[in-house]
């Protein structure tokens, strides 16, 4: 009983034995199990994609099945979570509050990710729920909850204040409402749209807006309203996907370049210079052509390649200014590794301008992707995609303006919403503007 663990609160010095109660060990077992499952599933998703793309290049398989190509990002994220779960196992047993809160986050995120991978939902979610239940057993909860709440208090307060500021600005609220609206439309497209995305009703071609087709029909009898609703799925997914990948890529490269400096930094900066000298649209066009096939997937790859340098620049600048600060020195003096300092200490402190930039870029990326699709680098004719619908309508502009009008409005509204929110967040996060 001489061995004691300091929990940070004087009155709560608890013996080690008390920590090693069965529920915590059980929790650890579940976490290890989940992490193994995550490593296997995530690894399969990522490796499967790599193998299939190599086979695709070699011409062994003609087309990649949807269940392989669709889940790469999920796979990467699951791998990351699995790693976290593996790392916190032992910390749980010695009663580290941080480990408990990370268990909470990791399990919630796991559930969210695996909800998006329907094939695996059944296997992963029950253990996650079980882990959450154990986490909130009175005995276990006592170990961390009070401290967790204490930790969260300033953040909650900060968040509540931010929400209050958001509520005060009608433009931001409007932007958020539009984004939420479009997201809901995209998620429930099947229930909202009266017709299918590529359904044609030949006898109804060229109809002006009327009760049966509220926004009219196009030249082959596609219902404009339904196609815009289905298009929301395509356009939102692709723009978010592009920005997320470019953001992660740019952050990693920029952070490394700013932190290590020297030759690496010089090289990265020259490369970004070159990318900046290209107009984005032109480079993306050339990349799509180089990838061989005009399709949405290639547009998104091309835009990921063109977009990362701006994030790299942004993160590099931030890292340069954070690098010399005291907390970095402190982390280094307790023996944290470079990658740990970079990813867990510096990058979280550079995240605010990144969020603003990324939010506004979703609008910009949407515009560029739709533009590429408009000049003919996108999906094949007939696919419900906003840019393509506009280009379809331009041949009939003079007799049926509605074919182009409504998809364009959808693009404008979505991009505007993201810009409004980005603009608003910047004002809210800017401490100079905040004080007043």
């Amino acid at each position: 009983m001489s061995e004691l663990v300091e929990t940070g609160f004087e009155e709560r010095v608890i013996s080690v034995e008390e920590f090693r109660k069965a529920p915590v060990r059980f929790l650890r077992a579940i976490m290890v199990l989940l992490s193994m499952a995550g490593l296997v599933f995530g690894g399969t998703l990522v490796l499967g994609y790599l193998v299939m793309s190599v086979m695709g290049v070699l011409g062994v398989v003609a087309e990649m099945p949807a269940y392989v190509s669709g889940y790469v990002l999920h796979g990467l994220f699951v791998l990351f979570l699995a790693y976290v779960m593996l790392r916190i196992g032992d910390l749980l047993v010695i009663g580290d509050t941080q480990a408990f809160s990370w268990t909470l986050y990791a399990n919630v995120l796991y559930i969210l990710v695996f909800l998006l991978v329907p094939e695996l939902t059944v296997y992963v979610i029950p253990p996650c729920v079980l882990a959450l239940l154990v986490l909130f057993l009175p005995g276990v909860r006592r170990l961390w909850w009070a401290e967790f709440k204490e930790d969260m208090k300033p953040r909650l307060k900060e968040m509540r204040y931010s929400l209050y500021l958001v509520g005060k600005s009608p433009l931001v609220v409007a932007g958020i409402a539009i984004i939420v609206g479009f997201t809901l439309v995209a998620l429930f497209a099947a229930d909202i749209a009266p017709y299918g995305p590529e359904q044609r009703i030949w006898e109804d071609s060229y109809q002006a807006p009327n009760p049966k087709h509220i926004w009219g029909t196009d030249d082959v009898g596609g219902d404009i309203f339904s196609r815009i609703v289905w298009g929301a799925q395509v356009d939102l997914r692709i723009s978010v996907q592009i920005v997320v990948v470019a953001l992660v890529l740019g952050t990693l490269i920029g952070a490394a370049s700013g932190y290590y400096g020297g030759k690496l930094d010089e090289l990265v900066m020259r490369i970004t210079d070159v990318f900046f000298a290209f107009p984005g649209l032109i480079l993306a066009m050339a990349i799509v052509m180089a990838l061989g096939e005009r399709s949405l997937d290639n547009i998104s790859i091309a835009l990921m390649v063109t977009w990362w340098p701006s994030y790299a620049r942004l993160v590099r600048g931030q890292v340069l200014s954070e690098r010399e600060k005291l907390y970095v020195e402190a982390a280094r003096s307790v023996g944290a590794s470079d990658s740990r300092i970079l990813l867990f200490h510096i990058v979280p402190n550079t995240i605010q301008p990144l969020i603003v930039q990324a939010t506004m870029d979703i609008g910009g990326v949407l515009l560029t992707a739709a533009g590429l699709s408009y000049i003919g680098f996108g999906p094949k004719a007939g696919v419900a995609e906003w840019g393509l619908m506009i280009s379809r309508g331009q041949d009939y502009l003079l007799i049926c303006p509605w074919i182009s009008l409504y998809p364009g409005l959808a693009i404008l509204l979505t991009a505007l919403a993201f810009n409004l929110v980005g603009d608003g967040i910047r004002d809210i996060m800017d401490p100079k503007l905040r004080r007043r």
Binding site: M289, G364, L367, I375, I390
Partner: protein, 347 residues
């Protein structure tokens, strides 16, 4: 450091950038298609292809081809473009189409600067008044506007609806009214319609017609830049107006006008000038879309056609040119800095 040394240093720094652009486009275009198609037609017999490859050095290893490509570029041989009416050397096509694009870009730039800077100033000095709200929404809409859709809608309303109503209307595309003026044959001197009309022909009708044709595409292309400039001007003006020296100037009893235009504007211009320089590259991107919509015989439309036809030499030529424009614009921006802010030493 002297100005001359500074310029030389900046040009030297720009070389690796241009070089990188070259390398990337060459690499990309090599994936796009076999370069031998540049030199053959449908009627070329298969047996002749090895000979053609040999004649143009296409049977050499890639690094050798790369150096040949660079040395050809330096000697002014940018290859042949086959996506114009007839096969023409890329440099000639560029010389032919460049003025049209630059004229369009200049007009939209002038429009954006002339409108954007005053709007930004007004918005900043009347912060949170109705004018400010209107300007903010106007400029946010500009940033969010799909340029190709905007072009179509402008055309629909200001050309077609006015035309149908029998009112005076804007033309729907092209540089000049083809039925009245044959520019290429009769009037072309420098390639800039407005410039030629005034300086060489003193033909006011030609000038007016050219100007009318520039309004819609110019506005369409310039709106994004206008929005960016307005936003930048507003925020930098707001920042400057908070400075102590502005308070001092006001407390000396100087009029609002003098404070804003003499004291604040000059400093507020510095970030705006950067944005203007960067926006010039964006204009080239936008020109691709605008020219497609308005049937503008410029570089953008040519580039789209070149890419869709795998016209490798044309793609390379166009990207290189754009990179050069961009680098030059940045250099000019840096020089203007020095004029605006004498504290900035070139170094």
């Amino acid at each position: 450091m002297k100005l001359r040394d500074f310029i030389i240093r900046r040009i030297l720094l720009a070389i690796p950038v241009v070089f990188g652009v070259l390398t990337i486009t060459w690499f990309l275009s090599y994936i796009v298609g076999d370069p031998v198609v540049m030199y053959i037609t449908e009627r070329t017999p298969d047996s002749a292809i090895p000979g053609i490859k040999k004649a143009h050095g296409l049977d050499q290893p890639l690094p050798v081809q790369y150096f040949m490509y660079i040395s050809n570029l330096l000697r002014g041989d940018w290859g042949m473009s086959m996506s114009s009416a007839r096969d023409m050397p890329v440099l000639e096509v560029i010389a032919d189409k460049f003025p049209a694009t630059i004229e369009l870009a200049m007009v939209s730039m002038v429009f954006a600067v002339m409108l954007g800077i005053p709007l930004g100033i007004v918005s900043a000095t009347r912060k949170d008044k109705p004018v400010d709200h209107f300007t903010r929404v106007f400029s946010l809409a500009g940033v969010s506007m799909p340029i190709f859709w905007f072009g179509l809608m402008l055309k629909y309303v200001l050309y077609f609806q006015l035309y149908r109503a029998g009112l005076p209307h804007f033309p729907s595309g092209d540089r000049l009214n083809g039925r009245v003026f044959d520019y290429e044959k009769d009037y072309r001197v420098t390639g800039f319609v407005l410039f030629d009309a005034i300086v060489y022909h003193q033909n006011l009708e030609l000038f007016a017609d050219g100007l009318m044709h520039l309004v819609l595409p110019g506005f369409c292309l310039g709106y994004l830049t206008l929005a960016i400039i307005t936003r930048m001007m507003r925020s930098s003006m707001l920042e400057v107006l908070r400075e102590d020296y502005i308070t001092l100037a006001k407390s000396k009893g100087l009029s609002e006008r003098v404070v804003i235009y003499k004291h604040a504007l000059r400093n507020a211009m510095i970030p705006t000038v950067t944005v203007i320089g960067l926006a010039f590259g964006g204009l080239m991107s936008g020109a691709v879309l605008t020219e497609t919509i308005y049937n503008w015989p410029g570089l953008g439309r040519w580039a789209v056609r070149a890419i869709l036809n795998s016209d490798i030499a044309a793609i390379n030529g166009f990207t290189l040119l754009v990179a050069l424009i961009f680098v030059t614009a940045n250099l000019i921006v840096d020089l203007v800095y020095g004029v605006l802010d004498p504290r900035i030493r070139f170094g």
